[in-house]
Symmetry: C2
Subunit: 467 residues, 2 copies
């Protein structure tokens, strides 16, 4: 379907549909025009890519990796070991103190209306306090926004506030829908705590109607200790049911119990591997994802995918004998989920050391089929990045636009740096995100490896054309 | 990420991220500019779409629907009933005789090398004869192409021929890889039967290395009865293992047993629903998928998805009060998999009745996230269709190109008709295709419903601009 691409591939790599021989591919003297190099990245990823097996290892043998947990520490060691076996010129751990929140015993919730008890799938939000030992029980007030809650004010006293504004399912780019709702999860407790509410429950951040609660971070902000209340997410199906039953019986009683707590900050690390630039060793291009994850599953799409894709950049450059001009840093950031301490630390140290960072690329939207990149850069570099669309569209990378540029690399922002965010297809992401469904089984090998090649191609182009 | 789209949606449908109210949406007086109408199709599909629940019903309550089977007949009734409950002006069954091949008892296979027995996941190919009751056993000759087999000629006598040319994993559009390999499955037995081979086994048509054999159609062509040999597909993992063991021990023995047979042709039907055109009732635009499927699973992606998406076209037109100018026919074609009798019959009857068919659209590439359309049309209409890309790109429909235009609608081809094929993302399709994995569980609701809206948008544009 893509004549140019197929022509290149036919000329260079194989004839007809015969088996691609890895050995043959390796022996080819690469004609280093951009389109040829990029085709080689994709060929290598699709035939020799290691991302999928690395992800299997990380997710199956370590699992969920919440900041401060033993699993997060194992993941640090896993990343360091893997880097040490790869083609990095230098591998090190960058120490960073991270929040240490633990979920404790599994949460429980139900509500009772007209003497019928309805079980509710629930999970505490990251950063929340526990309920008293025996849980809390109270009437529920449903609201659709922070503003509505503010306006209700004193009427919320002694109640459980239920934030139930759903995902806007009509938005094609589902991260927009997430962005349009997540304030309820993050600031629900901060906004209503001052009114003496009993607790806060929030509809899970997904358009899928199912039985899985989705966790995620929340902040109490600067409210006093005695105004902090337990906060949890409930499944979308339970949210719909609760809303329906509240219409029938506004004084129904909701009960929940959770056992989470925040321990003192814990020591942890960003894991960094460096390939020294051949021409500009003191100018840096960073590519990364985040190594920590939520604890309900294995953190496969969020963000195991970004981790293995970032690691694959080094592998695919090496396989295709591309020696970068600038120093390439692969960074496995710690604590994106509940603190962003890794990203902040990395930028802080870069500043302290007067490092010149010309570009950074992040993958934190899952290992789905490629769609494009968003970026934040100077006008000149925006035009440059957009001009690469013709090179990358044959791989499904059609969407090039200014926009979000990645949480972990965000703190690197300066007047000159180009920050780029990988944007795979987003239709399935929020089915799994922060829930018990985010396991290795829901990752597709081809989609993941295509992402690895997409990142490598972007790093190659940034290295080739920026300065 | 798509300013124009979001602007339209913001203006017309909702403010901020508040819940989309179906009632509100229905009351809106639609400004029938194309982009607005299309946005409404997508909004409706994503909030009120029925495709996913229809597919659940078809796949879970009926399951696999091989031509001539009781399940295929149930699917015909299912389709007719559903259409009769919808907004069609006319619903009817178009009789067609179909091949009636049955698999019989589950197949068995293994090979033995150096006294070790290796079990082989196997399935008969559709149209194949059975082995003798006790199966067949023989030495194996591995080949990579029909041409290689031809050249070996008499050396194949008494052997089992093993076609093992793999999918080309480097092709981004995976249907190209399928097209590059499937000749082995279709013509392997026809090509080698004349050399007195014992049987034919074929590597499954997928780039995924796993334990699932993928069935599919094969043809003996015009070879005499006594030259027909049993033909089966084995899993890719078993193919790799067999190939490896053959290198160590070229005289290893392969055994397989299958119990399939071809019964006399059976009566069946295309299911057709018609919405009469307001301006050109005698000019037809067809949209369809195929109702039959292979028998190893539920035929969810192939092609339950195309069936429910085609049915959704009528629903989404109605929901959005679009009255087509031309007569729209939704056709659930029978027997795409092993005969194309439904597609042929439909075209034949159209010709007999001198019907004027101006366009036809097919969905038979799964219910994955939208990517684009391929088409076959006059140069003028090709340009017209390509010009719609700007309208559809906000929904991920970026790929517009001349090419394949659908098996079932293919027989309608004429000098004037525009044939269009829906092309969703193809990365996952061949993981499931024709195997036991093609079940409802692997279909994603949003991806499926986006496809329904994509088809509806294309039908709307064909209806609006063609004549």
């Amino acid at each position: 379907m893509k004549p140019t691409l197929y022509l290149v591939s036919l000329m260079l790599i194989f004839t007809s549909c015969s088996n691609i021989k890895v050995e043959k591919q390796k022996k080819i003297t690469i004609n280093k025009t951009d389109s040829t190099v990029i085709k080689h990245f994709f060929n290598s990823a699709l035939t020799q890519g290691k991302s999928y097996e690395w992800l299997r290892d990380l997710t199956s043998n370590i699992g969920g990796r919440l900041s401060g947990s033993p699993e997060a520490q194992k993941a640090v060691e896993w990343g360091e070991n893997l880097m040490k076996k790869s083609n990095f010129d230098k591998v090190w751990l960058q120490p960073v103190m991270v929040p240490h929140w633990i979920r404790g015993e599994k949460e429980q919730a139900y509500f009772t209306s007209n003497n019928i008890k309805y079980k509710v799938p629930i999970c505490a939000l990251g950063g929340s306090i526990a309920t008293p030992k025996n849980g809390i029980s109270g009437e529920v007030i449903e609201v659709k926004s922070l503003k509505e809650a503010e306006q209700l004010g004193e009427k919320l006293r002694g109640k459980i506030v239920f934030f139930n504004r759903p995902f806007d399912a009509t938005l094609i780019e589902t991260f927009r829908a997430y962005g349009g709702c997540v304030d309820q999860r993050v600031y629900g407790a901060k906004t209503t705590g001052k009114f003496g509410v009993l607790g806060v429950i929030v509809r899970s951040m997904t358009s899928y109607i199912d039985d899985y609660p989705h966790t995620g971070n929340m902040h109490y902000g600067d409210i006093p200790e005695n105004k902090k209340v337990p906060t949890a997410a409930i499944s979308t199906k339970a949210s719909n049911l609760l809303s329906e039953k509240l219409k029938e019986n506004p004084s129904l009683k909701f009960y929940f119990k959770q056992n989470c707590k925040t321990l003192p900050d814990a020591p942890s690390f960003n894991v960094i591997g460096e390939i020294t630039g051949s021409k500009y060793p003191k100018k840096y291009i960073t590519v990364g994802g985040h190594l920590d994850s939520w604890d309900l599953a294995q953190g496969a799409q969020d963000d195991g995918a970004g981790i293995v894709q970032s690691l694959a950049v080094a592998q695919l450059l090496k396989t295709n004998q591309i020696k970068p001009k600038h120093t390439i840093r692969v960074v496995l950031f710690m604590n994106e989920e509940n603190g962003l301490r890794g990203g902040k630390k990395y930028a802080e140290e870069a500043k302290t050391k007067n490092e010149i960072h010309i570009a950074a690329l992040e993958s934190d939207a899952g290992g789905f089929t490629p769609r494009g990149f968003s970026f934040s850069a100077t006008l000149k570099n925006q035009d440059l990045i957009k001009s690469w669309k013709t090179l990358l569209a044959p791989y499904g990378l059609n969407d090039f636009e200014e926009g979000h540029s990645g949480a972990d690399i965000g703190p690197l922002k300066s007047k000159t740096i180009s920050l780029v965010d990988y944007r795979p297809d987003s239709q399935r992401y929020f089915k799994y995100h922060h829930s018990a469904l985010d396991t290795f089984e829901i990752v597709n090998k081809r989609e993941l490896e295509l992402g690895s090649a997409s990142l490598t191609s972007m790093i190659y182009l940034l290295d080739t054309y920026l300065n």
